[in-house]
Symmetry: C2
Subunit: 326 residues, 2 copies
Protein backbone atom coordinates (compact mmCIF):
# COMPACT_ATOMS: atom_id res chain seq x y z
CA UNK A 1 0.00 0.00 0.00
CA UNK A 2 1.33 3.45 -0.91
CA UNK A 3 1.47 5.48 2.30
CA UNK A 4 3.16 8.57 0.81
CA UNK A 5 -0.12 10.30 -0.03
CA UNK A 6 -1.81 10.17 3.46
CA UNK A 7 1.53 10.95 5.14
CA UNK A 8 1.95 13.98 2.91
CA UNK A 9 -1.57 15.20 3.73
CA UNK A 10 -0.84 14.85 7.42
CA UNK A 11 2.42 16.77 7.14
CA UNK A 12 0.91 19.49 4.93
CA UNK A 13 -1.77 20.02 7.61
CA UNK A 14 0.95 20.57 10.23
CA UNK A 15 3.54 22.84 8.61
CA UNK A 16 3.54 25.23 11.59
CA UNK A 17 4.23 22.61 14.21
CA UNK A 18 6.14 19.40 14.66
CA UNK A 19 4.32 16.11 14.48
CA UNK A 20 5.88 13.18 16.25
CA UNK A 21 6.68 9.83 14.67
CA UNK A 22 4.45 8.24 17.28
CA UNK A 23 1.51 10.44 16.31
CA UNK A 24 2.02 9.69 12.60
CA UNK A 25 2.27 6.01 13.41
CA UNK A 26 -1.00 6.14 15.35
CA UNK A 27 -2.96 8.19 12.81
CA UNK A 28 -1.84 6.20 9.76
CA UNK A 29 -1.87 2.86 11.60
CA UNK A 30 1.64 1.95 10.48
CA UNK A 31 4.75 1.03 12.44
CA UNK A 32 7.41 3.56 13.50
CA UNK A 33 9.85 1.91 11.08
CA UNK A 34 7.33 2.34 8.25
CA UNK A 35 6.98 6.04 9.14
CA UNK A 36 10.74 6.47 8.93
CA UNK A 37 10.83 4.67 5.57
CA UNK A 38 8.04 6.83 4.15
CA UNK A 39 9.76 10.01 5.32
CA UNK A 40 12.93 8.90 3.55
CA UNK A 41 10.96 8.09 0.42
CA UNK A 42 9.56 11.63 0.40
CA UNK A 43 13.08 13.00 0.97
CA UNK A 44 14.20 11.11 -2.16
CA UNK A 45 11.40 12.83 -4.05
CA UNK A 46 12.77 16.20 -3.02
CA UNK A 47 10.65 16.99 0.07
CA UNK A 48 12.58 18.57 2.91
CA UNK A 49 11.90 18.16 6.63
CA UNK A 50 12.96 19.64 9.89
CA UNK A 51 13.43 16.66 12.15
CA UNK A 52 14.05 16.97 15.89
CA UNK A 53 14.78 13.80 17.86
CA UNK A 54 11.98 12.97 20.33
CA UNK A 55 9.89 15.90 18.97
CA UNK A 56 9.02 15.00 15.42
CA UNK A 57 8.92 16.11 11.83
CA UNK A 58 7.86 19.31 10.11
CA UNK A 59 7.58 19.71 6.33
CA UNK A 60 9.90 22.56 5.41
CA UNK A 61 9.88 22.58 1.65
CA UNK A 62 8.09 20.90 -1.19
CA UNK A 63 10.38 19.72 -3.97
CA UNK A 64 11.33 22.29 -6.55
CA UNK A 65 10.66 21.09 -10.05
CA UNK A 66 12.43 21.94 -13.26
CA UNK A 67 10.29 23.43 -15.97
CA UNK A 68 11.00 23.46 -19.70
CA UNK A 69 9.54 26.91 -20.36
CA UNK A 70 11.53 28.37 -17.46
CA UNK A 71 14.72 26.74 -18.77
CA UNK A 72 14.17 27.95 -22.33
CA UNK A 73 13.37 31.49 -21.18
CA UNK A 74 16.64 31.69 -19.22
CA UNK A 75 18.80 30.08 -21.92
CA UNK A 76 21.95 32.03 -22.80
CA UNK A 77 23.22 29.60 -25.44
CA UNK A 78 22.12 29.50 -29.06
CA UNK A 79 22.66 25.83 -29.97
CA UNK A 80 23.14 23.96 -26.71
CA UNK A 81 19.81 23.29 -25.02
CA UNK A 82 17.67 24.69 -27.83
CA UNK A 83 15.72 21.44 -27.68
CA UNK A 84 14.96 20.13 -24.21
CA UNK A 85 13.25 16.91 -23.22
CA UNK A 86 12.36 16.96 -19.52
CA UNK A 87 11.32 13.71 -17.87
CA UNK A 88 9.92 13.09 -14.41
CA UNK A 89 11.67 9.75 -14.00
CA UNK A 90 13.68 7.55 -16.36
CA UNK A 91 16.11 4.65 -15.97
CA UNK A 92 18.87 6.75 -17.54
CA UNK A 93 18.91 9.98 -19.54
CA UNK A 94 21.80 8.48 -21.54
CA UNK A 95 19.53 5.80 -22.99
CA UNK A 96 16.87 8.34 -24.02
CA UNK A 97 19.45 10.70 -25.55
CA UNK A 98 21.06 7.82 -27.44
CA UNK A 99 17.72 6.82 -28.95
CA UNK A 100 17.08 10.44 -29.93
CA UNK A 101 20.56 10.75 -31.50
CA UNK A 102 19.98 7.55 -33.50
CA UNK A 103 16.74 9.11 -34.75
CA UNK A 104 18.57 12.22 -35.89
CA UNK A 105 18.12 14.69 -33.01
CA UNK A 106 20.37 17.73 -33.62
CA UNK A 107 23.49 18.71 -31.72
CA UNK A 108 22.68 20.50 -28.49
CA UNK A 109 19.55 18.47 -27.72
CA UNK A 110 19.30 18.08 -23.95
CA UNK A 111 17.55 15.33 -21.98
CA UNK A 112 16.94 16.04 -18.28
CA UNK A 113 15.24 13.86 -15.68
CA UNK A 114 14.11 14.75 -12.17
CA UNK A 115 15.07 11.22 -11.17
CA UNK A 116 17.10 8.38 -12.70
CA UNK A 117 16.22 4.90 -11.49
CA UNK A 118 19.36 3.29 -12.87
CA UNK A 119 21.76 6.11 -13.67
CA UNK A 120 24.98 5.01 -15.37
CA UNK A 121 28.36 5.95 -14.00
CA UNK A 122 31.88 5.25 -15.22
CA UNK A 123 32.75 1.57 -15.77
CA UNK A 124 29.17 0.37 -15.42
CA UNK A 125 28.89 1.69 -11.86
CA UNK A 126 25.50 2.79 -10.59
CA UNK A 127 25.01 6.52 -10.19
CA UNK A 128 22.88 7.74 -7.26
CA UNK A 129 20.32 10.14 -8.76
CA UNK A 130 17.48 10.97 -6.32
CA UNK A 131 14.52 13.03 -7.45
CA UNK A 132 14.44 16.81 -7.56
CA UNK A 133 17.72 17.48 -5.78
CA UNK A 134 20.29 17.07 -8.48
CA UNK A 135 20.76 17.61 -12.17
CA UNK A 136 20.78 14.46 -14.25
CA UNK A 137 21.15 15.32 -17.90
CA UNK A 138 22.49 14.15 -21.23
CA UNK A 139 23.61 16.44 -24.03
CA UNK A 140 23.81 15.25 -27.66
CA UNK A 141 26.97 16.34 -29.47
CA UNK A 142 28.06 15.82 -33.06
CA UNK A 143 31.70 16.89 -33.08
CA UNK A 144 33.38 17.41 -36.44
CA UNK A 145 36.64 16.00 -35.12
CA UNK A 146 37.71 12.40 -35.54
CA UNK A 147 37.46 9.63 -32.97
CA UNK A 148 40.99 10.02 -31.62
CA UNK A 149 39.98 13.37 -30.18
CA UNK A 150 36.82 12.54 -28.22
CA UNK A 151 38.74 12.13 -24.91
CA UNK A 152 39.54 15.85 -25.29
CA UNK A 153 35.81 16.51 -25.32
CA UNK A 154 35.47 14.71 -22.00
CA UNK A 155 38.03 17.09 -20.52
CA UNK A 156 36.38 20.11 -22.15
CA UNK A 157 33.03 19.26 -20.54
CA UNK A 158 34.65 18.98 -17.12
CA UNK A 159 36.27 22.39 -17.59
CA UNK A 160 33.01 24.02 -18.71
CA UNK A 161 31.03 22.55 -15.81
CA UNK A 162 33.68 23.47 -13.25
CA UNK A 163 33.83 27.06 -14.48
CA UNK A 164 30.03 27.40 -14.57
CA UNK A 165 29.67 26.07 -11.01
CA UNK A 166 32.48 28.26 -9.68
CA UNK A 167 30.69 31.28 -11.06
CA UNK A 168 27.45 30.44 -9.21
CA UNK A 169 28.61 28.89 -5.95
CA UNK A 170 31.34 30.33 -3.69
CA UNK A 171 33.21 27.09 -3.08
CA UNK A 172 36.40 25.68 -4.53
CA UNK A 173 35.87 22.87 -7.04
CA UNK A 174 38.65 20.90 -8.73
CA UNK A 175 38.85 18.35 -11.55
CA UNK A 176 40.16 14.86 -10.91
CA UNK A 177 41.49 13.31 -14.14
CA UNK A 178 39.80 12.83 -16.41
CA UNK A 179 36.43 14.33 -15.50
CA UNK A 180 35.23 14.03 -11.90
CA UNK A 181 34.48 17.26 -10.08
CA UNK A 182 35.51 17.28 -6.42
CA UNK A 183 35.16 19.55 -3.42
CA UNK A 184 38.11 18.60 -1.25
CA UNK A 185 38.13 14.82 -1.56
CA UNK A 186 34.38 14.44 -2.12
CA UNK A 187 32.72 14.03 -5.48
CA UNK A 188 30.17 16.65 -6.48
CA UNK A 189 29.70 15.80 -10.14
CA UNK A 190 30.38 12.96 -12.55
CA UNK A 191 30.62 13.10 -16.31
CA UNK A 192 30.38 10.23 -18.76
CA UNK A 193 30.92 10.75 -22.48
CA UNK A 194 29.52 7.93 -24.59
CA UNK A 195 30.67 7.87 -28.20
CA UNK A 196 29.41 6.08 -31.25
CA UNK A 197 31.74 5.97 -34.24
CA UNK A 198 32.17 4.50 -37.70
CA UNK A 199 35.85 3.96 -38.36
CA UNK A 200 37.51 7.21 -37.33
CA UNK A 201 34.33 9.27 -37.78
CA UNK A 202 32.26 10.17 -34.73
CA UNK A 203 28.54 9.63 -35.37
CA UNK A 204 27.57 11.28 -32.12
CA UNK A 205 28.61 11.66 -28.48
CA UNK A 206 26.27 11.73 -25.50
CA UNK A 207 27.62 13.74 -22.59
CA UNK A 208 26.03 12.42 -19.43
CA UNK A 209 26.32 14.87 -16.54
CA UNK A 210 25.27 14.32 -12.96
CA UNK A 211 25.49 17.17 -10.45
CA UNK A 212 24.68 16.87 -6.75
CA UNK A 213 22.96 20.17 -6.11
CA UNK A 214 20.57 20.31 -3.17
CA UNK A 215 21.09 17.03 -1.37
CA UNK A 216 21.33 17.02 2.42
CA UNK A 217 23.67 14.53 4.11
CA UNK A 218 20.71 12.27 4.89
CA UNK A 219 19.91 12.00 1.17
CA UNK A 220 23.02 9.87 0.72
CA UNK A 221 23.07 6.20 1.58
CA UNK A 222 25.60 5.63 4.38
CA UNK A 223 28.57 4.39 2.29
CA UNK A 224 28.30 7.38 -0.09
CA UNK A 225 28.46 10.04 2.66
CA UNK A 226 32.21 9.63 3.00
CA UNK A 227 32.91 10.20 -0.68
CA UNK A 228 30.08 12.36 -2.02
CA UNK A 229 28.80 15.83 -1.27
CA UNK A 230 26.47 18.44 -2.75
CA UNK A 231 26.63 22.13 -3.60
CA UNK A 232 24.11 22.80 -0.80
CA UNK A 233 26.12 20.90 1.82
CA UNK A 234 29.32 22.68 0.83
CA UNK A 235 27.95 26.20 0.38
CA UNK A 236 25.31 26.09 3.10
CA UNK A 237 22.42 27.15 0.89
CA UNK A 238 20.16 25.87 -1.85
CA UNK A 239 21.28 26.49 -5.41
CA UNK A 240 18.92 27.15 -8.31
CA UNK A 241 19.16 24.20 -10.67
CA UNK A 242 17.84 26.16 -13.66
CA UNK A 243 20.66 28.68 -13.26
CA UNK A 244 23.26 25.89 -13.19
CA UNK A 245 21.92 24.25 -16.34
CA UNK A 246 21.76 27.47 -18.35
CA UNK A 247 25.14 28.68 -17.09
CA UNK A 248 26.77 25.35 -17.99
CA UNK A 249 25.22 25.32 -21.48
CA UNK A 250 26.47 28.86 -22.16
CA UNK A 251 29.98 28.13 -20.86
CA UNK A 252 30.16 24.86 -22.77
CA UNK A 253 29.01 26.52 -25.98
CA UNK A 254 31.73 29.16 -25.66
CA UNK A 255 34.53 26.65 -24.97
CA UNK A 256 33.29 24.23 -27.66
CA UNK A 257 33.50 27.05 -30.21
CA UNK A 258 36.99 27.91 -28.96
CA UNK A 259 37.99 24.25 -29.28
CA UNK A 260 36.63 23.97 -32.82
CA UNK A 261 38.53 27.09 -33.78
CA UNK A 262 41.83 26.76 -31.94
CA UNK A 263 42.04 23.08 -31.06
CA UNK A 264 42.81 21.53 -27.71
CA UNK A 265 45.65 23.82 -26.56
CA UNK A 266 43.53 26.48 -24.78
CA UNK A 267 41.29 23.80 -23.23
CA UNK A 268 44.35 21.95 -21.96
CA UNK A 269 45.56 25.11 -20.25
CA UNK A 270 42.20 25.66 -18.58
CA UNK A 271 41.98 22.01 -17.52
CA UNK A 272 45.46 22.05 -16.02
CA UNK A 273 44.61 25.21 -14.07
CA UNK A 274 41.52 23.55 -12.53
CA UNK A 275 43.06 20.13 -12.02
CA UNK A 276 43.71 18.62 -8.62
CA UNK A 277 45.44 15.56 -10.12
CA UNK A 278 48.73 17.22 -10.99
CA UNK A 279 51.93 17.76 -8.97
CA UNK A 280 51.03 15.38 -6.11
CA UNK A 281 51.52 11.67 -5.47
CA UNK A 282 48.74 9.61 -7.05
CA UNK A 283 47.95 6.04 -7.98
CA UNK A 284 46.23 5.35 -11.29
CA UNK A 285 44.38 2.08 -11.61
CA UNK A 286 44.57 1.02 -15.25
CA UNK A 287 43.53 -2.14 -17.07
CA UNK A 288 47.24 -2.98 -17.20
CA UNK A 289 47.76 -2.48 -13.47
CA UNK A 290 48.61 0.26 -10.96
CA UNK A 291 50.82 3.20 -11.84
CA UNK A 292 52.19 5.21 -8.90
CA UNK A 293 53.83 8.58 -9.36
CA UNK A 294 53.34 12.28 -9.96
CA UNK A 295 51.43 13.59 -12.99
CA UNK A 296 52.75 16.79 -14.56
CA UNK A 297 50.51 17.62 -17.50
CA UNK A 298 48.20 16.46 -20.25
CA UNK A 299 49.55 15.44 -23.62
CA UNK A 300 48.09 16.92 -26.79
CA UNK A 301 45.42 14.20 -27.06
CA UNK A 302 44.30 14.46 -23.42
CA UNK A 303 46.31 11.57 -21.99
CA UNK A 304 48.03 12.09 -18.63
CA UNK A 305 51.85 12.30 -18.42
CA UNK A 306 53.05 10.73 -15.19
CA UNK A 307 56.55 10.16 -13.79
CA UNK A 308 56.64 6.82 -12.00
CA UNK A 309 57.98 7.07 -8.45
CA UNK A 310 59.80 3.74 -8.49
CA UNK A 311 61.60 4.06 -11.82
CA UNK A 312 61.58 7.76 -12.63
CA UNK A 313 60.21 6.73 -16.02
CA UNK A 314 57.79 9.10 -17.81
CA UNK A 315 54.64 7.38 -19.04
CA UNK A 316 51.50 8.40 -20.85
CA UNK A 317 48.23 7.08 -19.37
CA UNK A 318 45.22 7.01 -21.67
CA UNK A 319 42.68 5.44 -19.37
CA UNK A 320 42.35 4.83 -15.65
CA UNK A 321 40.99 5.86 -12.28
CA UNK A 322 42.98 8.26 -10.11
CA UNK A 323 43.41 7.69 -6.37
CA UNK A 324 44.97 10.33 -4.16
CA UNK A 325 47.48 9.38 -1.47
CA UNK A 326 46.68 10.46 2.06
CA UNK B 1 2.77 -12.68 -57.94
CA UNK B 2 5.99 -14.57 -57.15
CA UNK B 3 7.15 -16.22 -60.37
CA UNK B 4 10.52 -17.46 -59.08
CA UNK B 5 9.20 -20.85 -58.03
CA UNK B 6 7.61 -21.96 -61.37
CA UNK B 7 10.54 -20.47 -63.31
CA UNK B 8 12.95 -22.43 -61.17
CA UNK B 9 11.01 -25.67 -61.74
CA UNK B 10 11.12 -25.07 -65.48
CA UNK B 11 14.86 -24.41 -65.43
CA UNK B 12 15.59 -27.39 -63.17
CA UNK B 13 13.72 -29.62 -65.64
CA UNK B 14 15.98 -28.38 -68.47
CA UNK B 15 19.52 -28.37 -67.05
CA UNK B 16 20.88 -30.32 -70.04
CA UNK B 17 19.54 -27.99 -72.68
CA UNK B 18 18.89 -24.31 -73.23
CA UNK B 19 15.40 -22.98 -72.88
CA UNK B 20 14.60 -19.78 -74.71
CA UNK B 21 13.17 -16.68 -73.12
CA UNK B 22 10.27 -16.98 -75.57
CA UNK B 23 9.51 -20.53 -74.43
CA UNK B 24 9.65 -19.49 -70.74
CA UNK B 25 7.42 -16.52 -71.51
CA UNK B 26 4.90 -18.82 -73.22
CA UNK B 27 4.88 -21.54 -70.58
CA UNK B 28 4.63 -19.18 -67.59
CA UNK B 29 2.33 -16.71 -69.35
CA UNK B 30 4.48 -13.74 -68.50
CA UNK B 31 6.13 -11.10 -70.68
CA UNK B 32 9.72 -11.35 -71.95
CA UNK B 33 10.64 -8.42 -69.70
CA UNK B 34 9.18 -10.29 -66.71
CA UNK B 35 11.25 -13.37 -67.64
CA UNK B 36 14.40 -11.27 -67.69
CA UNK B 37 13.51 -9.71 -64.35
CA UNK B 38 12.88 -13.10 -62.76
CA UNK B 39 16.16 -14.47 -64.10
CA UNK B 40 17.97 -11.51 -62.52
CA UNK B 41 16.15 -12.06 -59.27
CA UNK B 42 17.37 -15.66 -59.18
CA UNK B 43 20.89 -14.45 -60.00
CA UNK B 44 20.70 -12.19 -56.97
CA UNK B 45 19.81 -15.23 -54.90
CA UNK B 46 22.96 -16.97 -56.09
CA UNK B 47 21.67 -19.04 -59.01
CA UNK B 48 23.98 -19.09 -62.01
CA UNK B 49 22.97 -19.36 -65.65
CA UNK B 50 24.55 -19.92 -69.00
CA UNK B 51 22.83 -17.43 -71.25
CA UNK B 52 23.29 -17.42 -75.01
CA UNK B 53 21.66 -14.60 -76.96
CA UNK B 54 18.84 -15.85 -79.18
CA UNK B 55 19.25 -19.39 -77.76
CA UNK B 56 18.22 -19.11 -74.16
CA UNK B 57 19.08 -19.90 -70.58
CA UNK B 58 20.43 -22.95 -68.85
CA UNK B 59 20.70 -23.32 -65.07
CA UNK B 60 24.37 -23.97 -64.37
CA UNK B 61 24.59 -23.85 -60.63
CA UNK B 62 22.32 -23.62 -57.65
CA UNK B 63 23.47 -21.15 -55.03
CA UNK B 64 26.01 -22.40 -52.58
CA UNK B 65 24.96 -21.79 -49.03
CA UNK B 66 27.07 -21.24 -45.97
CA UNK B 67 26.56 -23.70 -43.16
CA UNK B 68 27.36 -23.17 -39.50
CA UNK B 69 28.51 -26.74 -38.84
CA UNK B 70 30.78 -26.65 -41.89
CA UNK B 71 32.24 -23.31 -40.74
CA UNK B 72 32.84 -24.50 -37.18
CA UNK B 73 34.44 -27.75 -38.36
CA UNK B 74 36.91 -25.85 -40.55
CA UNK B 75 37.70 -23.16 -37.96
CA UNK B 76 41.42 -22.62 -37.33
CA UNK B 77 40.98 -19.87 -34.71
CA UNK B 78 40.32 -20.42 -31.03
CA UNK B 79 38.41 -17.25 -30.08
CA UNK B 80 37.36 -15.58 -33.32
CA UNK B 81 34.26 -17.25 -34.76
CA UNK B 82 33.74 -19.64 -31.86
CA UNK B 83 30.15 -18.41 -31.79
CA UNK B 84 28.50 -17.98 -35.18
CA UNK B 85 25.07 -16.64 -35.99
CA UNK B 86 24.19 -17.34 -39.62
CA UNK B 87 21.19 -15.57 -41.12
CA UNK B 88 19.49 -16.07 -44.47
CA UNK B 89 18.66 -12.39 -44.89
CA UNK B 90 18.92 -9.37 -42.64
CA UNK B 91 18.88 -5.59 -43.09
CA UNK B 92 22.45 -5.38 -41.75
CA UNK B 93 24.68 -7.79 -39.85
CA UNK B 94 26.05 -4.72 -38.01
CA UNK B 95 22.69 -4.11 -36.35
CA UNK B 96 22.36 -7.75 -35.21
CA UNK B 97 25.94 -7.86 -33.91
CA UNK B 98 25.43 -4.57 -32.05
CA UNK B 99 22.33 -5.93 -30.31
CA UNK B 100 24.25 -9.08 -29.39
CA UNK B 101 27.18 -7.04 -28.04
CA UNK B 102 24.81 -4.92 -25.94
CA UNK B 103 23.43 -8.16 -24.51
CA UNK B 104 26.91 -9.35 -23.57
CA UNK B 105 27.97 -11.58 -26.48
CA UNK B 106 31.68 -12.44 -26.08
CA UNK B 107 34.57 -11.23 -28.21
CA UNK B 108 34.90 -13.19 -31.41
CA UNK B 109 31.15 -13.67 -31.93
CA UNK B 110 30.47 -13.63 -35.67
CA UNK B 111 27.25 -12.70 -37.46
CA UNK B 112 27.00 -13.71 -41.13
CA UNK B 113 24.13 -13.20 -43.55
CA UNK B 114 23.62 -14.69 -47.00
CA UNK B 115 22.01 -11.40 -47.96
CA UNK B 116 21.82 -7.88 -46.53
CA UNK B 117 18.85 -5.83 -47.59
CA UNK B 118 20.29 -2.54 -46.38
CA UNK B 119 23.99 -3.13 -45.80
CA UNK B 120 25.85 -0.18 -44.29
CA UNK B 121 28.95 1.24 -45.90
CA UNK B 122 31.24 4.08 -44.89
CA UNK B 123 29.56 7.45 -44.30
CA UNK B 124 26.06 6.03 -44.38
CA UNK B 125 26.46 4.81 -47.96
CA UNK B 126 24.50 1.75 -49.03
CA UNK B 127 26.52 -1.42 -49.46
CA UNK B 128 25.47 -3.79 -52.29
CA UNK B 129 25.18 -7.25 -50.69
CA UNK B 130 23.39 -9.75 -52.97
CA UNK B 131 22.54 -13.21 -51.69
CA UNK B 132 24.89 -16.16 -51.68
CA UNK B 133 27.72 -14.60 -53.66
CA UNK B 134 29.60 -12.57 -51.15
CA UNK B 135 30.54 -12.58 -47.50
CA UNK B 136 28.66 -10.12 -45.35
CA UNK B 137 29.72 -10.46 -41.77
CA UNK B 138 30.21 -8.63 -38.49
CA UNK B 139 32.71 -9.59 -35.83
CA UNK B 140 32.33 -8.48 -32.20
CA UNK B 141 35.57 -7.23 -30.62
CA UNK B 142 36.29 -6.05 -27.09
CA UNK B 143 39.74 -4.53 -27.33
CA UNK B 144 41.59 -3.76 -24.10
CA UNK B 145 43.07 -0.59 -25.60
CA UNK B 146 41.57 2.85 -25.15
CA UNK B 147 39.45 4.73 -27.64
CA UNK B 148 42.30 6.68 -29.23
CA UNK B 149 43.61 3.43 -30.67
CA UNK B 150 40.54 2.00 -32.40
CA UNK B 151 41.52 3.46 -35.80
CA UNK B 152 44.56 1.15 -35.56
CA UNK B 153 42.15 -1.76 -35.32
CA UNK B 154 40.51 -0.67 -38.57
CA UNK B 155 43.91 -0.87 -40.26
CA UNK B 156 44.68 -4.21 -38.60
CA UNK B 157 41.50 -5.76 -39.98
CA UNK B 158 42.33 -4.57 -43.50
CA UNK B 159 45.79 -6.13 -43.21
CA UNK B 160 44.43 -9.45 -41.93
CA UNK B 161 41.79 -9.66 -44.64
CA UNK B 162 44.23 -8.71 -47.39
CA UNK B 163 46.75 -11.34 -46.27
CA UNK B 164 44.06 -14.04 -45.95
CA UNK B 165 42.69 -13.34 -49.43
CA UNK B 166 46.17 -13.23 -51.01
CA UNK B 167 46.83 -16.66 -49.58
CA UNK B 168 43.70 -18.14 -51.19
CA UNK B 169 43.38 -16.30 -54.49
CA UNK B 170 46.25 -15.68 -56.96
CA UNK B 171 45.55 -12.00 -57.60
CA UNK B 172 47.16 -8.84 -56.34
CA UNK B 173 45.11 -6.97 -53.71
CA UNK B 174 46.08 -3.64 -52.16
CA UNK B 175 44.78 -1.51 -49.30
CA UNK B 176 43.48 1.99 -49.92
CA UNK B 177 43.71 4.11 -46.76
CA UNK B 178 42.27 3.43 -44.36
CA UNK B 179 40.61 0.09 -45.10
CA UNK B 180 39.26 -0.53 -48.61
CA UNK B 181 40.66 -3.54 -50.46
CA UNK B 182 41.20 -2.95 -54.17
CA UNK B 183 42.21 -4.99 -57.20
CA UNK B 184 43.69 -2.41 -59.54
CA UNK B 185 41.30 0.49 -59.13
CA UNK B 186 38.25 -1.61 -58.31
CA UNK B 187 36.93 -2.30 -54.85
CA UNK B 188 36.75 -5.93 -53.75
CA UNK B 189 36.07 -5.48 -50.06
CA UNK B 190 34.91 -2.83 -47.64
CA UNK B 191 35.43 -2.70 -43.90
CA UNK B 192 33.56 -0.60 -41.36
CA UNK B 193 34.53 -0.55 -37.70
CA UNK B 194 31.77 0.74 -35.44
CA UNK B 195 32.85 1.61 -31.91
CA UNK B 196 30.92 2.23 -28.74
CA UNK B 197 32.82 3.89 -25.91
CA UNK B 198 32.41 5.38 -22.45
CA UNK B 199 34.90 8.18 -22.02
CA UNK B 200 38.19 6.72 -23.22
CA UNK B 201 37.12 3.11 -22.62
CA UNK B 202 35.93 1.02 -25.55
CA UNK B 203 32.79 -0.96 -24.66
CA UNK B 204 32.93 -2.92 -27.90
CA UNK B 205 33.72 -2.62 -31.59
CA UNK B 206 31.80 -4.24 -34.41
CA UNK B 207 33.95 -4.97 -37.46
CA UNK B 208 31.68 -5.06 -40.49
CA UNK B 209 33.31 -6.81 -43.43
CA UNK B 210 31.91 -7.14 -46.92
CA UNK B 211 33.76 -9.24 -49.51
CA UNK B 212 32.70 -9.60 -53.13
CA UNK B 213 33.47 -13.26 -53.74
CA UNK B 214 31.55 -14.99 -56.53
CA UNK B 215 29.71 -12.19 -58.27
CA UNK B 216 29.64 -12.11 -62.06
CA UNK B 217 29.71 -8.75 -63.82
CA UNK B 218 25.94 -8.94 -64.35
CA UNK B 219 25.42 -9.16 -60.58
CA UNK B 220 26.43 -5.52 -60.30
CA UNK B 221 24.06 -2.69 -61.07
CA UNK B 222 25.43 -0.69 -64.01
CA UNK B 223 27.02 2.22 -62.07
CA UNK B 224 28.91 -0.17 -59.77
CA UNK B 225 30.58 -2.18 -62.56
CA UNK B 226 33.15 0.54 -63.15
CA UNK B 227 34.29 0.65 -59.54
CA UNK B 228 33.63 -2.80 -58.07
CA UNK B 229 34.83 -6.29 -58.84
CA UNK B 230 34.82 -9.76 -57.29
CA UNK B 231 37.38 -12.45 -56.54
CA UNK B 232 35.70 -14.65 -59.17
CA UNK B 233 35.83 -11.97 -61.87
CA UNK B 234 39.47 -11.24 -61.14
CA UNK B 235 40.73 -14.79 -60.68
CA UNK B 236 38.47 -16.49 -63.23
CA UNK B 237 37.12 -19.10 -60.85
CA UNK B 238 34.75 -19.50 -57.95
CA UNK B 239 36.23 -19.19 -54.48
CA UNK B 240 35.04 -21.17 -51.46
CA UNK B 241 33.47 -18.70 -49.04
CA UNK B 242 33.92 -20.97 -46.03
CA UNK B 243 37.66 -21.09 -46.68
CA UNK B 244 37.84 -17.28 -46.85
CA UNK B 245 35.97 -16.81 -43.58
CA UNK B 246 38.04 -19.35 -41.63
CA UNK B 247 41.32 -18.12 -43.16
CA UNK B 248 40.47 -14.51 -42.27
CA UNK B 249 39.50 -15.40 -38.69
CA UNK B 250 42.77 -17.29 -38.18
CA UNK B 251 44.90 -14.49 -39.69
CA UNK B 252 43.06 -11.83 -37.71
CA UNK B 253 43.45 -13.77 -34.47
CA UNK B 254 47.21 -14.04 -35.04
CA UNK B 255 47.68 -10.34 -35.84
CA UNK B 256 45.36 -9.23 -33.02
CA UNK B 257 47.50 -11.20 -30.55
CA UNK B 258 50.64 -9.63 -32.05
CA UNK B 259 49.05 -6.18 -31.70
CA UNK B 260 48.05 -6.78 -28.08
CA UNK B 261 51.58 -7.92 -27.31
CA UNK B 262 53.78 -5.59 -29.35
CA UNK B 263 51.51 -2.66 -30.16
CA UNK B 264 50.87 -1.04 -33.51
CA UNK B 265 54.43 -0.97 -34.89
CA UNK B 266 54.43 -4.43 -36.58
CA UNK B 267 50.88 -3.85 -37.93
CA UNK B 268 51.94 -0.50 -39.34
CA UNK B 269 54.81 -2.17 -41.21
CA UNK B 270 52.48 -4.79 -42.67
CA UNK B 271 49.90 -2.16 -43.62
CA UNK B 272 52.48 0.03 -45.34
CA UNK B 273 53.74 -2.99 -47.32
CA UNK B 274 50.22 -3.75 -48.62
CA UNK B 275 49.14 -0.14 -49.12
CA UNK B 276 48.46 1.37 -52.53
CA UNK B 277 47.89 4.84 -51.05
CA UNK B 278 51.53 5.73 -50.44
CA UNK B 279 54.19 7.33 -52.66
CA UNK B 280 51.79 8.49 -55.40
CA UNK B 281 49.73 11.64 -55.97
CA UNK B 282 46.39 11.47 -54.18
CA UNK B 283 43.56 13.71 -53.10
CA UNK B 284 42.02 13.20 -49.69
CA UNK B 285 38.52 14.52 -49.16
CA UNK B 286 38.22 15.53 -45.53
CA UNK B 287 35.51 17.32 -43.57
CA UNK B 288 37.79 20.36 -43.63
CA UNK B 289 38.27 20.23 -47.42
CA UNK B 290 40.53 18.62 -50.03
CA UNK B 291 44.18 17.80 -49.37
CA UNK B 292 46.31 17.09 -52.44
CA UNK B 293 49.76 15.58 -52.16
CA UNK B 294 51.80 12.44 -51.62
CA UNK B 295 51.40 10.28 -48.52
CA UNK B 296 54.55 8.70 -47.13
CA UNK B 297 53.58 6.70 -44.08
CA UNK B 298 51.25 6.15 -41.14
CA UNK B 299 51.84 7.87 -37.85
CA UNK B 300 51.88 5.86 -34.63
CA UNK B 301 48.11 6.22 -34.14
CA UNK B 302 47.18 5.24 -37.71
CA UNK B 303 46.77 8.71 -39.19
CA UNK B 304 48.22 9.35 -42.65
CA UNK B 305 51.24 11.65 -43.10
CA UNK B 306 50.94 13.55 -46.36
CA UNK B 307 53.14 16.21 -47.96
CA UNK B 308 50.95 18.77 -49.67
CA UNK B 309 51.90 19.39 -53.30
CA UNK B 310 51.18 23.10 -53.29
CA UNK B 311 52.96 24.08 -50.08
CA UNK B 312 55.37 21.24 -49.36
CA UNK B 313 53.88 21.23 -45.87
CA UNK B 314 53.69 17.89 -44.00
CA UNK B 315 50.25 17.21 -42.53
CA UNK B 316 48.62 14.44 -40.56
CA UNK B 317 45.19 13.32 -41.80
CA UNK B 318 42.99 11.48 -39.32
CA UNK B 319 39.89 11.00 -41.41
CA UNK B 320 39.00 11.19 -45.08
CA UNK B 321 38.41 9.44 -48.38
CA UNK B 322 41.35 8.85 -50.73
CA UNK B 323 41.05 9.48 -54.47
CA UNK B 324 43.80 8.42 -56.83
CA UNK B 325 44.93 10.70 -59.63
CA UNK B 326 44.78 9.25 -63.15
Amino acid sequence: MNMSEPLLQLLLANTNSYISGEEISRQLQISRTAVWKQINKLRNQGYEFDAIPRVGYRLKQKPDRLNTLMLLSQLKSSVMGQQIKLLESTPSTQIIAQQMAEQGAPEGTLVIAEEQTSGRGRMGRAFHSPSGKGIWMSLILKPQTSLQFTPQLTLLIAVALCRALQRLVPISIGIKWPNDLLVGTKKISGILLESSAEDERVRYCIAGIGISVNMDPEDYPEPLREVATSLKIESGSKVDRTAIITEFLAEFETLYALYNEQGFAPIRTLWEALSISLHRPITINTLQGKVIGIAEQLDELGALWITESATGERRKIFSGDVEFHR
